[in-house]
Homo-oligomer: 179 residues x 4
């Protein structure tokens, strides 16, 4: 049976392996995005064919797994993410959770469809410190329709401790020249 | 009458003047926090007597103004805050708004009381790019009671364009040795 | 100067006057809705040209005022709206606030546009009892765009005491044959 | 294998059986509430030893199942719950979901602890009509701590179609004389 320390070691190893494939920070233009369906876009990022989003460096997390309707990001908050009162800023939770939520919606979209996040709500359940990581944000689709997507996400560590949960509403639209 | 360019120049000048007073990034321990009421803590940070929160460097924003129940943060999102699809990541909005919301609650607390954010909800209204800044997050208290605080915030630029709005619920508690 | 009792009496009188104009409970079909712009639809309801929504009887509140981007509902929760632990059920707050939020968005729409509520978040700030009324839910538009609307609302009594606040995201769409 | 019609018939039969046990609408005072732990309170209501909340009549739903951390309400929206544009008012969704969320938290509390809902957020996913019922709101605990509880809920019909999802934050407190 795997101990919590085993799980933590496996999580760290998985992140290291994935990070080796990553390209460099950057953004994709609308034409490039339009060539992929949502899941294909995320897989191209995981394989290093597309740049990874710059925010991943600022917040020290990365996309780890992507399947249709289920996404995992992993990261470790650092000293640079502290709020003034000695715990990790709520914005770090929001950023990794927003990534998991948005990509959960994106992963369900066919070629020619794009999305934008209309709103997210985050429940902060436990304090994170710079020694809490690695933690995972897992996003799951709840509803993917013609005009809107709804997803939920949780943030937890390798011992299964829950740090936050979140939900989002996304607008789904046609990317004109590709739909 | 002041033109939008005048307002933008004034905003930039105000941020530069405030940043000159700032100390270095860091966090305050519970004993230090316990010496101040909420507004006094924020003013001590503005005067450079206390360190400023490290997240402010990662996200390129700073606390600009603090009065009881009303807080202004200002910042400029950068390339390092982009998401993969070419606009500023929702996490940047959430981080500056969470700061404004939390400090709006903090600013109403007497000495011996602390707070923690239970949840926040953010509506993303317009896309930010690396040329949108400076933008301001203004937080305002809605309710400050014995056990909970509720605040709202908006994110807008010097032309008055609205980029996001947000609300929060905070838990208010005694800091044992000081209450 | 008006005392709180004066304000309360004026609120009750205003509701009585408005209720005299109301027609009967019912709903409007898409064709009827398509004949009005959003504000015109609400004014037709206030004048009794259109039926009022049946939920207003179940929850004992009514639309009181409608201008572009600002809506007031007024009502009085009753014994029939209690939860099992002796205060008014959160659902009563949500229902009157959802009405104010949705109509604030509706009031900004031109003829040929409809809306649907995607999500709302409600902060419950103080307990209501069957003797708290009348209370008002005032909705205000924050953003009205081509595809989405964002609004906020507060619930308060004639002494200005705040009971709840709320925000919503609505989807705006064409009503095909009228746009 | 059970068809959707079988499931629907079973749901209706389960509600009829439970409703036979119900007492009358009413509320419990703090002393009565203090005699039970959370789950015991809900079970006493299901057995008819305690009155059921009056809001259940106004909204035509009832508590159906209660176990620790998992709650099911069932109901059927009616003509009296319509909004002016011909679908069931968002307030109906909010009310049944708020019940499921609050009771999910309540079901985890020991004797001497009470709770109050601080906020809820509801995503409305599909339109309900007066012929959609019966639908179920299932609430599940996410976090139950010393001071706060977080729960999630979904609203779905007997064919598994999803109509809404929701999350809540509750404040947990001591009921003074019983804790």
């Amino acid at each position: 049976m795997s101990t919590p320390a085993d799980v933590k070691a496996a999580w760290i190893a998985e992140e290291e392996a994935i990070r080796k494939n990553y390209s460099k920070p950057g953004t994709a233009d609308r034409e490039t995005i339009g060539r992929y369906d949502g899941l294909g876009f995320l897989h191209a990022m995981l394989r290093g064919e597309l740049p990874y989003p710059p925010i991943m460096d600022a917040m020290n997390f990365c996309l780890l797994q992507a399947e249709k309707g289920r996404i995992v990001f992993q990261g470790s908050p650092q000293f640079g993410h502290y709020n003034p009162i000695g715990s990790i800023h709520g914005g770090w939770y929001c950023t990794i959770l927003d990534s998991a939520l948005g990509c959960a919606v994106h992963s369900t979209l066919p070629r020619g469809k794009g999305y934008t996040t209309l709103e997210l709500k985050v429940n902060l359940i436990r304090a994170l410190t710079e020694s809490s990581g690695p933690v995972r944000a897992e996003g799951r689709i709840i509803h993917s329709g013609g005009q809107t997507g709804v997803a939920e996400a949780t943030l937890f560590d390798s011992a299964g401790k829950l740090f936050a949960s979140a939900t989002t509403t996304c607008l789904i639209f046609d990317i004109p020249q590709y739909s």
